[in-house]
């Protein structure tokens, strides 16, 4: 059994916007790229050119089609999934060697590759599927919140953020201290109604997700009635354009 710190000075984590994530996978490949070459061991793949290529990833993006039964239409929601750096995670408690631990200073949950024995208890204890077993190394792997970037003084200030946040082309990923109610990420969570995944599990995830916004045709505010024709010059010009573009039959 491994003990959790009672409190942490900071609660560093990610806020992921399900509204603007387009499922481009840039965060997944940047995560793999960064973490395959620095902290811990390379994230090696098996059967990379063959029938069933697979290997550990610290961040994966799943695409779902969500059906609205009432409206009979659907939307695609992309769901990026990585460790949520929970406040009270059983993944740490079940670790028999102390390899899995939660840092008191910033709340990051890490695995020490030297003392991890690959027993996989932690991955059973994580309800989010955030831990992946590295067959080649025989150890457990998970998101490090890019601990080797965020404090790295050799980096320019703007690069001292997680690789996935840096890579996201739509700024759907935000990084900061969720323990500080005045931080940008905390404000964003408040403003957009950010939520916890599976709160009923009682793990108190640090990472938050922002819900997809309502579709424009469902939103109540900001709707304007279409103006009625006033037969002005401009109006008639539009009518002409309309007849040109839709009224005229094709030449066949």
């Amino acid at each position: 059994m491994t003990m959790l710190p009672e409190t942490t000075e900071k609660k560093l984590g990610l806020v992921i916007d399900l509204d603007t994530c387009v499922g481009c996978q840039a965060c997944a490949t940047s995560c793999k790229e960064w973490n395959a070459q620095g902290y811990s061991a390379p994230l090696e793949d098996e059967d990379p050119r063959g029938k069933d290529p697979h290997g550990p990833w610290l961040n994966r993006i799943h695409g779902y089609e969500v059906l609205d039964e009432v409206r009979e239409d659907s939307r695609i929601v992309h769901f990026p999934r990585s460790c949520l750096h929970c406040e009270t995670p059983a993944c740490v408690i079940v670790c028999p060697t102390g390899a899995s631990y939660k840092r008191a200073e910033d709340g990051i949950v890490l695995v020490n590759p030297d003392t991890c024995i690959g027993c996989k208890l932690c991955s059973w204890a994580c309800p989010y599927g955030a831990r992946e077993y590295d067959v080649k190394e025989g150890i457990m792997r998970k998101c490090t919140l890019c601990v080797d970037r965020i404090y790295n003084e050799n980096f320019a200030e703007e690069d001292r953020i997680p690789a996935c946040v840096r890579a996201c082309p739509t700024s759907a990923r935000h990084y900061g201290d969720l323990g500080d109610p005045n931080s940008d990420v905390s404000k964003l969570v408040k403003e957009r109604g950010g939520f916890d995944l599976l709160p009923e599990m009682g793990y108190k995830p640090t990472n938050k997700y922002l819900p997809p916004r309502k579709r424009r045709d469902q939103a109540e505010e900001g709707r304007e009635a279409l103006p009625k024709s006033d037969r002005s010059m401009v109006d008639r010009l539009f009518a002409l354009a309309d007849s040109l573009l839709s009224g005229k039959a094709g030449p066949h």
Partner: protein
């Protein structure tokens, strides 16, 4: 919508504010990939013009190098009498024709280019017609060729219409002489793509990480609506294989062939330092080169200026890009904004500060239409007249796409389209071991409702049949697709034995292409002529006109069809 910014129009009148209309439109190039694509694009733009949203606040905005004169003053070269063996082309191969006089045809109306661009088949083919080259060369129509030289275009696979016949053409022999109909193929690629296997000479290219590149205002820059911008790529790793950057190889070949632009007066290579030398020192016109930033001997000039030997260093120092932000009064209505037009002239984007007037009525199109109606000295052959009259309407019109009109739509009631997966959007190498874990095979996506009516369940095998061919693929059902359309990811299907993948890779065993269903030629028309499957105005390949029939199929060992014979992995030449 109004910005509190005064500006001056091309008549010199000052306006106190910039009045806009917040209507922006998002359209991508797929719109043009139909036989009626050009006129559809014109219709969209006409609507923008009438709505007053062109380069207005809240509307569609130009990015440099646009706006450009309409049409730009460059004409294509290659009329009969302009091209001679062993001599360079005396002008640019691509340009903008404005009347039948500009076509690259002979007195009989025969196309002069192997792709038949700028002929009566596709008069305004400003991009050329890559998709027709192999077919035309194999059919020796308009003529046979000695050498086919291509760069990074997977023309025996996912860049070709009608893959099975294209493969046949690439290896076809003349029955009497026994020689290949396309005698020599030279091909350059960074990867062991399907096309590499058909080359006599392979020029192995570097990847983007191993070479210099410029994303130039003379081509397709990174630009911003707020001002011109361009960028470079610099090598970040040294090649560990026997490869060379293709652009450097081209300059080398050009120098060896003695091409005037690539050699000095003494016949020495003009850019001995390779492509990076060219990027810095090439001038298209005095002071105008591939990169707009840090020009002039001391790097203080933008747009126009003498080459600066330190230009690449300056780009690197600035994060590999250059951006010139326009002044607030230059940012909108650029086509008629005097201060902008003056700036653009000085910067080298346009030649003179003349207003760029949008054409509601397109005179160049009307000239072609009149020729087809029997006016003027240069007239199309009988076979082409009707089609030209239909398509070259000077006011945007709509006509049904040819593949729908020339085949029985009741037999092929559905549409089939592809899109490129976002994860692979700007990666040439979807065989990459990480990317193939994300998407190693494709599926055919079908609307639930349509699938139910055909008895197709999620994961079933289906056949898709066009007037030209048939494929077998595995189905996935979804709601977010029009019931009359099926779609799949583009270029995920690979041929077995290619791209350094093992023969049992899902890319080849379950992956598939729609390309096999798409004919590069339309069915015969009056007079027996087969036009290319393209927009009759621009020659743009009509990929998205594809019509299909969907049926449930048997699972044949879990394999997609067609399956082609395995290719043997490419080995380095001894």
């Amino acid at each position: 919508m109004e910005l509190d910014v005064p500006w001056t129009d091309h008549y010199g009148r000052t306006h106190k504010t910039m009045v806009g209309r917040p209507v922006s439109m998002h359209a991508m190039r797929g719109i043009s990939a139909h036989a009626n694509g050009f006129q559809t694009c014109r219709a969209v733009h006409l609507l923008q013009i009438l709505l007053g949203t062109i380069d207005a606040p809240g509307g569609f905005r130009y990015k440099a190098p646009y706006p450009r004169p309409i049409p730009p003053a460059i004409k294509p070269t290659g009329k009969s009498g302009q091209v001679f063996p062993n001599e360079p082309l005396p002008g640019p191969p691509l340009g903008f024709v404005t009347s039948p006089d500009d076509l690259l045809i002979d007195e009989k109306g025969t196309p002069q280019r192997i792709d038949k661009a700028y002929s009566w088949d596709a008069p305004l083919a400003a991009h050329g017609m890559m998709h027709m080259v192999i077919t035309n060369a194999a059919k020796k129509d308009p003529y046979g060729i000695d050498v086919l030289f291509m760069y990074m275009a997977n023309m025996s696979w996912n860049s070709a219409m009608n893959v099975p016949d294209t493969i046949k053409y690439l290896t076809m022999k003349d029955e009497t002489t026994g020689d290949y109909v396309i005698p020599k193929i030279i091909y350059s690629d960074a990867y062991a793509s399907e096309m590499v296997h058909y080359a006599d000479l392979i020029l192995p290219d570097t990847t983007y990480l191993e070479r210099w590149d410029c994303i130039s205002l003379l081509d397709r820059p990174i630009s911003e609506a707020d001002g011109p911008a361009d960028s470079i790529r610099q090598p970040v790793v040294a090649p560990d294989r026997d490869v060379r950057p293709f652009q450097t190889v081209l300059l080398d070949l050009g120098a060896r062939l003695g091409l005037p632009g690539m050699t000095t007066a003494e016949g020495k290579p003009r850019y001995p330092g390779g492509y990076e030398d060219y990027i810095v020192n090439h001038e298209r016109a005095p002071g105008i080169g591939p990169l707009a930033g840090y020009r002039g001997v001391d790097g203080t000039l933008s747009g126009k200026g003498a080459p600066n030997p330190d230009q690449l260093k300056r780009y690197i120092k600035n994060g590999c890009h250059f951006f010139h932000e326009l002044a607030p009064e230059q940012k909108y209505f650029k086509h008629v904004n005097k201060i902008y037009l003056d700036f653009a002239t000085g910067f080298g984007l346009i030649e003179a500060p003349n207003a760029i007037i949008h054409q509601l009525y397109c005179e160049p199109l009307q000239k072609f239409k009149l020729a087809a109606e029997g006016h003027g000295a240069v007239q199309p052959p009988e076979t082409h007249r009707k089609r030209l009259i239909e398509a070259f309407d000077p006011i945007p019109n709509w006509y049904p796409p040819f593949e729908g009109k020339m085949i029985d739509e009741t037999k092929f009631p559905m549409h089939a389209v592809t899109q490129r997966p976002m994860a692979m959007y700007h990666a040439w190498g979807s065989q990459n071991q990480w990317l193939r874990q994300i998407l190693g095979r494709n599926w055919l996506y079908i609307a639930h409702q349509r699938a139910a009516s055909l008895g197709i369940k999620d994961g079933d095998w289906v056949t898709l049949t066009s007037h030209h061919g048939q494929i077998r693929a595995q189905a996935k059902l979804m709601n977010g697709v029009n019931p009359d359309t099926v779609w799949t990811w583009n270029a995920i299907g690979k041929r077995s034995g290619t791209w350094g993948l093992e023969n049992n890779a899902p890319e080849s065993k379950q992956g598939f292409l729609l390309n096999h269903l798409i004919s590069e030629l339309l069915p015969e028309r009056e007079g027996g002529y087969r036009f290319s499957n393209s927009d009759p105005v621009t020659g743009q390949a009509a990929w998205y006109d594809l019509r299909v029939r969907l049926e449930k199929a048997a699972d044949v060992n879990g394999l997609s069809a067609p399956q082609f014979p395995d290719l043997k992995p490419v080995r380095a030449a001894q």
